[in-house]
Symmetry: C2
Amino acid sequence: MAEQKVHRASTTAPVNIAVIKYWGKRDPSLNLPTNSSLSVTLSQSDLRTHTTASCSALFPADSLLLNAAPQDVSGARTQACFRELRTLRKQLEDSDSSLPKLATLPLKIVSENNFPTAAGLASSAAGFAALVRAIADLYALPASPTELSRIARQGSGSACRSLFGGYVGWATGTEPSGSDSTAYEVAPASHWPSMRALILVVSAEKKGVSSTAGMQTTVATSSLFRARVESVPSRMQQMEAAIRARDFGAFARLTMRDSNSFHATCLDTDPPIFYLNDVSRAAIAAVNGINSAAGAEIAAYTFDAGPNAVIYYLAEHAAAVAGTFKGILGHVQGWEGQRGRAVEDAGAEGATVDSRARKVLEEGVNRVILTGVGEGPISVDEHLVDESGEAVGGR
Amino acid sequence: MAEQKVHRASTTAPVNIAVIKYWGKRDPSLNLPTNSSLSVTLSQSDLRTHTTASCSALFPADSLLLNAAPQDVSGARTQACFRELRTLRKQLEDSDSSLPKLATLPLKIVSENNFPTAAGLASSAAGFAALVRAIADLYALPASPTELSRIARQGSGSACRSLFGGYVGWATGTEPSGSDSTAYEVAPASHWPSMRALILVVSAEKKGVSSTAGMQTTVATSSLFRARVESVPSRMQQMEAAIRARDFGAFARLTMRDSNSFHATCLDTDPPIFYLNDVSRAAIAAVNGINSAAGAEIAAYTFDAGPNAVIYYLAEHAAAVAGTFKGILGHVQGWEGQRGRAVEDAGAEGATVDSRARKVLEEGVNRVILTGVGEGPISVDEHLVDESGEAVGGR
């Protein structure tokens, strides 16, 4: 009975960390942003979501399992992705009657992250990118990453950027439908492969304001927000030029300024939103100390909607940047991996960081993640749903 | 020998805490601001500078003693005040030959604060206001507080507002000479005498960026600063209207928004300037909790260039506001004074503040100062220089 068959496709998708931040929607239901943004896709060796999309007449209804926990699929964002992908599959089926009729079958999606949820890393970008890519593969859609980014955007805005590897832009677009608000490749990972990222995972005090709620409060109440939005287009141009020219100094200055501008508009929100805490401030002081000692910007901090610091640097400065942090944070988890072993403790060089900032970092950072620029979604043969339709544990 | 005589005049002057902040100079040498500002003058019972200005041919040169420590008087700011006041005295002497010739005599200024320097309260405003007022009295100048505010502004910008009591504006002015950048009374203390202020003195980690240096870096580098400057005129209008109408809710909302806007432009400065720390954030959370529980803005936080919180409230809400803080901070110094005894510990009402914020406040606040709106400079008979010209200890 063909209709009892379980159809499957699996993919992994990466996390991305923006250097020009997305903050504010001009259309909340379509996740259309007030400004363009730009991110670096991080290596899936260190951070990735692994997702299997399956469909079968055996399944009673659409379902989604994330890290073994059932998720609600009735939300508008997940439904929008399912609907868009099924529509594309239906068009294929209508044009070729030999194709199996998958568009109407219930979906079972099973997803796992290879990083602890407690790390406080925004996983929704990788999650929706993997979900959309896996279903598109299941449906054998001829859609390009750009077309899929338009769909993933409706699941989670920044997910659209995780459809590409390397250096990725997301155009704000002008169409009310959002048809031109899609991601695009600024440069592949191979263009500038020496980009590294050190993530300082900060002990979370408690969940702050969610980015979904926070950004719309900023749009509604901040008197400085408009000035930020107006400053982004020229910063985007400069950032794309810096990436094309592999100019790390310019990349670093723009990254830090944009992070500061974003958090400034959060502070100007009513009531104010604080994502940076004293540990975040100490990370900023440490980066400033490292750059001062080097006489150039060799490290760049950026912060999303939480206290974790993401510090970009080039492989050639691993000792001066990651090594300095290893000298302070050698006792925490995360230096064990391949990249961690390659980083020498800068020891006395850690003296470029003032003693108070060292102490706050020692006490406030839980673990580190060492990674670098990486590729976009990758199709894999390891399925998280077996041939009979049961979810199976990943690695 | 008349010229051996020691001429003396003494005054006290108040601290003021702005509710629309001064940040940025359009002319650094004249201390001309980029935007108008507005402050509440605090009671001198709690916070004041006591200054004696004296002059005599006995003195070898101009000198200034602050809290028993000799200060440099050669700086441009102090020199500008001396020069302006001597010029006015000289005009008097030229028009009336019976007057003693004081303009050319060396000045000895002795000054004492009644609050600990370690409290990290900006004392330069009270200091320059007292210096200018005392010399003006010594010289028997017919100058109005407005005229003196023009002179004190050249010593320290915000000092101009300490020439008046109550609710005080400082107009940015348009003249390049600064002649119209003076302070003015929005309303006397008696118009709205129930205004109270609770200052939470936070353990200083270390001296942050000075406001003099910080504000000009903001002007030069923040892309959001212009938007702040443009938003101030309407906020000034609304604040003056709120004060005239004794509308505490509007006063509170404007005060908190302006403080947040100011600190947002600090964060948007390159490199970023952080005056707020985790204790400051806890104070903000506490005020938000108190206001939420009350269902109205009955407390308003504001922060100058440092982590100390100043919380304004009305006497009728002393229990709900100061009492809540006393329930958390009853163990620290500062509740002993008359106003402190009048504040009942709100006890269980402290539960309006979440436990994490309570803990951070308990650990991070060193002492409190309870005060309220007060009068401008007051002439006093107690001199800090004796008849022979020696500095004498104050109380």
